[in-house]
Amino acid sequence: MGELKLMKGNEALAEAAIRAGADAYFGYPITPQSEVIEYLMAEKPHERTGMVVLQAESEVAAINMIYGAAGAGKKVMTSSSSPGISLKQEGLSYIAGAELPCVYANVVRGGPGLGTIQPSQADYFQSTKGGGHGDYRQIVLAPASVQEMADFVKLGFELAFKYRLPVLILSDGVIGQMMEKVELFDQVPRLTDKEIEEKYPWATTGRKKGTERRVITSLALQAHEMEAHNLKLQAKYKTIRENEVRYEAINCDDAEYILVAYGSSARIAQKTVQMARQKGLKVGLFRLITLYPFPSVDMQELCKQGVKGFLAVEMSSGQMVEDVMLAVKGCAKVAHFGRFGGVVHTPEEVLNALEQKIIGG
């Protein structure tokens, strides 16, 4: 068993970056995720593993530092919260276009605008439908515990390098700020420069004499070249949709009604399931782990199994619910419930909504 610790979600994310063998973290402070860079600065990862930590002058600069280092084959991570993530979108689009691997976290707070520092899930559309310009996707992992904040950093890097794209850890103020027990995975060694050169034939590390030069770019002046590049990206996204769907079905086997949720909303909904079961209601929880790829096919299976209704529970005015509707294709009733703007719904409110919008309605 790995080392057991009581940690905040943000701290677990930071510690996991060191342990996952990251080469660098570039970031800029913003509540409620500043603990990430604070923890890293205090831990001196440079002494532990040689990992670089730099506070950039802005989120824009931070994501472009990521672009440079990732383009040179290094394992790099950044994190921020909603307003800062908006600033990173330009860089993320370039990273997706140039097919570079990186992991970044959004510890979501309420918006729009400067909003509030309280928890929210209102960045779902931005996270799953692109965010920046152009036709690109990223893998979105939604941790629902401090343990997953740590584990998804390691998983995120694996996926990022496997598919060469940005992997987003979509967290929120609840998961970032709360402390739970975490079992930390063992240190993954950082790759040496030589290993990087051999492993990543695309990485710009300096052209060796007698070899072709390597170029990192997202530009193609000719439209047909750009279309070909887009087709290649789309094929990659299809592979991801077919192979990387992750979710957890809790009490779904005999369920008539399903709560669909991710992150901290899933934790709250799990309590609602317990309360509903005590009342004799057959309720289950379908917890999304990947928001992209979305587990559409498996949701249709639930319909076949006799589920009568789905309640999408999210801290937004209704974003994920659109994907639930697309997934179940009208085979059962779908409704949305959620508080937003920084207000966190209670398990009781969720139960109420389920009874009124799905069971009774």
Partner: protein
């Protein structure tokens, strides 16, 4: 066993660290724990509270509106959380600065004069440990030895010399908790 607890008072009273020590103690005896603080501007000088859950099972929601136990350390928190204790649950409070005492009759109510006892012991910083002692007397969810282990794990080594003082404070709290209203 699942204990869902809120600790609420002023920022600076050691509310968050008391919750943290409790959570650490739970880990020491192989339980699941969660610690969810209020965060943000409300913490500055105002009220601070933390929800702590210790359980034998996987913990669902870390955010709750109804609690098994509320530990209340100022009047604002009394006004806010007295009503949040489930019927049959427990409320522990420090009467220092309380102008309206709890009125519910469907819960167990205990008093601990943490502020007075801590200053009598010559160190107001151990206030939260006195209160923790009172709580553990009423509801021994974690063993004292695990609390000490938890302290060792959560405090940097340079503070380990303070552990005996903390242990004294916990014992003082255990001895001085007063029954105010007990359900039978």
């Amino acid at each position: 066993m699942t204990e869902e607890l809120i600790i609420a008072g002023f920022g600076g009273q050691g509310v968050l660290s008391m919750g943290k020590i409790l959570a650490y103690s739970g880990i020491m005896q192989d339980q699941e724990v969660s610690w969810m603080p209020s965060y943000g501007p409300e913490m500055r000088g105002g009220t601070a509270n933390v929800t702590v859950i210790v359980s034998d099972e996987r913990i669902s929601s870390p955010i709750l509106t109804i609690f098994d136990t509320a530990i209340i350390l100022n009047q604002q928190s009394m006004d806010k959380f007295e009503k949040s204790v489930r019927p049959g649950g427990t409320l522990i409070y420090d009467p220092n600065g309380i102008t309206r005492h709890p009125e519910r009759t469907d819960i167990n109510i205990y008093q601990i004069e943490g502020a007075r006892l801590a200053s009598e012991m010559g160190n107001t910083k151990i206030f939260n440990m006195v209160v923790l002692g009172a709580y553990l007397k009423v509801n021994p969810i974690v063993k004292l030895e695990n609390v000490i282990k938890g302290l060792k794990n959560s405090l940097p080594a340079r503070y380990h010399k303070l552990i005996p003082l903390n242990e004294d404070a916990i014992n003082t709290g255990m001895k001085n908790v007063v029954d105010m209203h007990i359900l039978n």
